[in-house]
């Protein structure tokens, strides 16, 4: 018999997969792939804070991560720093904070560790519906701004002359990344969440001939990896995070080989 736990995991995983699939294309093409890496460490600190204060960790880490995303943007724009240095700075800060909190309040160490590796099959119903809802909100925000996001990513100068407010869209994108990362943290964990957002888009780039195909393939690959990974994990009793990432890497390898053959 299929458990409701499994079905809920599939539902939330599916919503998140679509959000990651779309978002990943923009992150990769903007050379912002490592933003997920930085934000995941900030989100981890948020989780630690939430656990230390006995607040709902997801809600709390979304808030902390949104703040972190604004800091990354500010540093990129205003400090004399290349983007990747800004990210290195922030991810160290996030991890240092989490370690500090863990040493002060020793009782939640084990629970915090679960966010390193993630486990979608261990999440309670209320949290999983919240996650699905947030993923749908991210998805809607991207779809509503799709032409403008595409224009800006392809050609910032022309987009600006077309009247698009670049700074506003930049902020939107990094905030959507923040929310997505927090959700991804719960599913595959801090250590693998960058792969969740980036690998499907990278695979799509191997095969797509235009932008529409890229978005479609990236979503498809993301869905196949996450839903497939959750199913494998449930049936074979494997860690879901590893199953998801391995599936997406297999898809990437296939895509890469097909492109080389053409």
């Amino acid at each position: 018999m299929i458990s409701s736990l499994f079905l809920r995991a599939l539902l939330a995983g599916g919503c998140l997969a679509l959000a990651c699939g779309l978002l990943g294309v923009f992150l990769v093409l903007r050379r912002d792939a490592m933003i997920s890496h930085g934000l995941s460490h900030v989100a981890f600190a948020g989780v630690a804070l939430g656990l230390a204060l006995n607040l709902m960790p997801v809600v709390f880490s979304v808030a902390v991560c949104l703040a972190g995303s604004i800091v990354i943007l500010r540093l990129k724009e205003q400090a004399r720093l290349p983007g990747d240095t800004a990210i290195a700075l922030l991810s160290s800060a996030g991890l240092a904070l989490a370690i500090l909190l863990m040493s002060i309040k020793r009782d939640f160490g084990a629970e915090l560790m679960s966010y390193l590796f993630g486990d979608i099959l261990a999440i309670g119903p209320s949290e999983i519906y919240l996650a699905a809802g947030l993923a749908v909100a991210v998805l809607a925000a991207i779809l509503l701004n799709l032409p403008r996001l595409m224009f800006m990513t392809f050609d910032r100068e022309a987009a600006s002359v077309a009247g698009i407010r670049l700074s506003r869209l930049d902020r939107l994108l990094v905030m959507l990344s923040a929310v997505t990362i927090v959700l991804g943290l719960r599913i595959v964990g801090l250590l693998l969440v960058t792969g969740l957002t980036v690998i499907p888009a990278a695979s799509a780039l191997q095969l797509a001939r235009n932008f529409r195909q890229t978005l479609f393939l990236s979503c498809l690959f993301s869905l196949l990896s996450i839903m497939g990974g959750i199913t494998l994990a449930y049936v074979l009793d494997l860690p879901a995070s590893a199953a998801i990432i391995f599936l997406s890497l297999i898809i990437f390898s296939l895509g890469y080989m097909i492109r080389k053959r053409r």
Partner: protein
């Protein structure tokens, strides 16, 4: 005559190094203005200031009689930046999608009739002779073809003024002539106002009605016909090349 662009007392510096000094310039509806000057004379900088990509350190700009800071009818303006073809070579985008991106995100005049996007795209591509390539990946086209795609993108929103920064770099000579003839035709038939930064003054001069020579300052600004009588033009034509090759 309707003033479309007004540049008043504009100066600009990059990190303290002056690039433009006290520029005053007006462009009227139907003008075909060529901006010429040596490398580094501030032509690109001036164009970027006109379209709001750079903020002047001093002075003001008006577009369609509105101060640039509050101007929002960007669909009236077409702009092709210098080296538009320096885009990310791994970016997966088809020719039609390049144009669709701009059509779908441009603000529109209130009450405008919407032609289907696909039809607009094909019309714009037809002008530059690329309607056959609509669904090809942009990075599979030659450099000159890509340049024409960007020209089509600028035309697709039916702008009233077109600002072009050395648009024919990398385009072969016959296509260049065709392109400038096309600009001349759009200028005469549709009253499209054109601002063209160029080093090929010899090829365009039969379409142009006004000239601006730039070298940080506006060295000359006026009618093309008078420009031809001037010493500067003779220098330009006869080997002197003072305007073309030296930085003062």
């Amino acid at each position: 005559m309707e003033e479309i662009v007004r540049v008043e007392g504009v100066s600009f510096a990059y990190d303290g190094l002056p690039a433009l000094v006290d520029i005053n310039l007006s462009i009227y509806r139907g003008d075909f203005l060529a901006i010429i000057g040596p490398n580094g004379s501030g032509k690109t900088t001036l164009l970027k200031i006109m379209v709001g990509l750079l903020k002047p350190r001093q002075g003001r700009v008006w577009l369609f009689q509105q101060p640039l800071e509050t101007f929002n009818q960007w669909f009236r303006i077409g702009y092709i930046q210098q080296k538009a073809t320096n885009f990310d070579p791994i970016f997966p985008i088809s020719v039609a999608e390049v144009i669709a991106a701009s059509l779908n995100s441009a603000s529109r005049p209130a009450g405008a009739v919407r032609t289907p996007v696909r039809q607009k795209i094909l019309e714009a591509l037809q002008i530059v002779g690329l309607e056959q390539e609509a669904d090809k990946p942009l990075n599979s086209l030659s450099g000159g073809q890509q340049q024409r795609v960007f020209i089509a993108r600028a035309l697709a929103t039916d702008p009233e003024i077109l600002l072009l920064d050395e648009p024919t770099t990398g385009v072969d000579y016959p296509s260049q002539e065709n392109f400038y003839d096309l600009l001349g035709q759009l200028n005469k038939q549709k009253q499209l106002t054109i601002v063209l930064v160029t080093h090929d003054y010899g090829i365009v001069n039969r379409h142009v009605n006004r000239v601006a020579c730039l070298n940080q300052k506006l060295v000359y600004h006026g009618e093309h016909s008078e420009f031809c009588q001037s010493d500067r033009f003779r220098q330009l034509l006869h080997g002197g090349h003072h305007l073309i090759s030296h930085r003062h």
